[in-house]
């Protein structure tokens, strides 16, 4: 579904991502881990059009996406959920969900069905559907941000650090929602630091270190692979 080939990207003159290649199929979750500052968010931004890659390709179902503006990328079926549970604070919960329809391909008739589905998964959003998004907790805002993406029914979902700024206990319901979403035929990429919590929900995993891919393996093997990689340098 999504293929990234030999991607190089950065901010201004700062090179951050070097020669990253990855692919995700419909129906699976790829977990991308790595320390903060390793370049995960830059990678997401480069795929979604926020910063122009200096080299390499991003293909969605074989169609090139690199060089497109972010709103065009979203429209063609690749939706990035930014880190930091960013929603539109001065819009109501319902209107935030409605904004998701901007990236929806084709008809808008299924919109209310999709919104109802979100309300079913996260009843709190239904309860607060008239409240301003700024009055939600961080976890609820993350649910809302995901809900907004869900409404668009993208082919590929990129989810940048869903855990940022949330209490860890809030993570499992969000992750199981992503799991079900993927199983319905969407290609999902989750960027996360909290690997132990996230790995069980993912199919494959990849670790980025200092802008390059350090390892790639089935998610179930991640723990063992990381232990074997452990370097003496890391211990103080």
């Amino acid at each position: 579904m999504l293929e990234v080939k030999n991607l190089y990207a950065g901010y201004g003159i700062v090179p951050v991502i070097e020669d990253v290649t990855l692919s995700v199929n419909a129906g699976e979750i790829l977990l991308i881990g790595g320390e903060n500052g390793a370049g995960k968010s830059t990678l997401m931004g480069a795929i979604a059009g926020f910063n122009k890659p200096t080299a390499g390709e991003v293909l969605l179902e074989g169609q090139p996406l690199h060089g497109l503006a972010p709103e065009k990328v979203a429209k063609s079926g690749l939706r990035l959920v930014l880190d930091g549970h960013r929603v539109f604070p001065e819009l109501s919960v319902y209107d935030n969900l409605r904004m998701g329809a901007a990236a929806r391909r084709g008809d808008r008739s299924g919109l209310s069905a999709a919104i109802d589905e979100i309300y079913e998964v996260f009843p709190i959003l239904k309860e607060k559907h008239r409240a301003y998004a700024r009055d939600l907790s961080g976890g609820q805002q993350q649910m809302l941000a995901l809900g907004q993406a869900f409404v668009a029914q993208p082919k590929v979902l990129l989810c940048d650090e869903p855990s940022m700024g949330l209490a860890q206990a809030l993570l499992p319901p969000i992750l199981s929602f992503l799991r079900r979403w993927a199983e319905a035929g969407t290609a999902v990429v989750i960027v996360e630091q909290h690997l132990q919590v996230t790995a069980p929900y993912a199919d494959r995993a990849m670790i980025i270190e200092r802008g390059t891919v350090k390892l790639e393996c089935p998610a179930a093997e991640l723990d063992d692979r990381l232990k074997s990689l452990e370097t003496p340098e890391g211990a103080a």
Partner: protein
Amino acid sequence: MQTPADASPASGKPRFNSDLSQVWIGIALIAITGFGPSLIGNSYWVHTFQLVNIYIAVSIFQNFLFVDAGQKSFGQGVILGLGAYVTAIFFGLHEYTFLVAAMFGLLAATLGGLLFALPALRVQYFHLGFVTLSAAIVFPQLLMSLDSWTNGINGILVKLPWWHEEWVFGLSPLTIAVALYPMLALGIHYGIRRSRLGRQMRVAAVSPEAARTLGIKPGVMRFLAFIIAAIGTGIAGILFLPTVGFVSPQGFNVELSFVFFFAVVVGGRGQMLGPIIGIWIVFILPNIALAAFVEYRLLIYGVLTLATVMLFPDGIVGSVERWRLKRGVSGRGEQSFRIDAFLEELKGKDGFEPTDEIAIELKGATKRFGAVVAVDHVDLKVRKGEIHGLIGANGSGKTSLLNVLSGLSRVNDGAFFINGRDATRLSADRIANLGLGRTFQTPRIFPMFSLWDNLKVGEDARTGKASPEIHALSKALEAEFAQDNAELLSHGQRRLAEVMRSMLKEAEIVLFDEPAAGLSSSERKNFAKLVRFLSRQLGKTVIIVEHDLDLVWNVADTITVMEQGAIVAAGDPQTIAHDPAVQHMFVGGRGA
């Protein structure tokens, strides 16, 4: 002793900036157009260029205000008018001597500048554009309606024969004065630009928050810039009077202010030659060369300016200058900014150790942004001379805490102390002057400065006298980097440049905000060395916010862990590494 400067002297490099050459070309151009017509006895061009040269002087100050101080004023015509009109009132209507009248004129112009400058203390950006534009609209209205003082629509006619007497070669005192004044204005602009004040103004214009962490008050810089420009423009106003011999409200309408502003844009913002070329095009072209179409002149100003913004935003001189820079100055590759050799020189008393004195202390500090608590009742002590690592997930409040410490944001509750002194309510510039320095996540490099000037703004921010070692260091750096283009530095080198800046500032406490982000692994190693050098060789206190845990564990004496705005663990690296609150931060149990 072989210094690095001896090894590769700066001479022979192409000049980084052409300000000085532009000043000399400008002076030559003004001299030719100012004196030339008198020498050949063409009185039409004598008069034309007298006025043109006054307008050039006004545009030079507009250029200074626009670029060096970052202030867009649409009201410089008002200041010129105040100088001219008030002089005319006292000289022409009340029969004071010209000198006394001119003093009143200058005073009035300065007061007018004050009207612009006062709001500049509080606000910036487009607000001041509207304030100055308002003034430009109101001014001629006032000249009309205050007719008991100004003679209203009839204007004031003055006779100043002495100014027009020809001395030698057909040159009158007026011709000489109005030719010398714009030259002087160029010199003043250049002089300010090369001075500490000028550098601080430009830093404040480009990055107010970086300026504040260097002890600069951006509001005061804007205020001063308006006052300086007003004095310079007021003197031009005084010279306007003998040149034209007549003032009337229509002569100082908003169109005049637009001429000065547009001249700077068309000529090239910030270029020394810009105002000269700009006035020639914007003023001479429609008023003289195309005199038959004089009613179209406003249209011509507008179209020229719009076309400049759309097609070549650097203006005419700016475009030429950019072409020169592209062709002439080249980078020196990855190794262009190395500081190891310079640091060797500095090696002072070996073996500083963290002391038990407290450099920074936070008590119950809380910072809220709306409903979000970014810093939540934080108690923290940083010992003098230690390297203190601050870690935590994204959004855990580290940068917010750093912003509180450097005074860029204020705590809602709690207190904090620097060297035992209450700094809770101090502004960022005051805190900087207490000996604090910081770096930013994206290094603040100022592209209009050479590499050395980028470092020198640190020296400018120093409060006391330089220690001899630092003085020697700065001399060596100047010799090496005075003509280098800072924009060609890699990210890692920019980071080093910021560190060097804080060393020249002789900050006793240095805050690093995610310094290793974007550095290569060898750069990270060097950076770790540098941090240790700062602490152990120079005795600085270092607080470092960083995601690269290897780096933090490598250098830190104490580590504090934050989560959701609160401190969840603190202690020495070994203890912290085994703290369960920290375990999950490591990818796969590393560091445990």
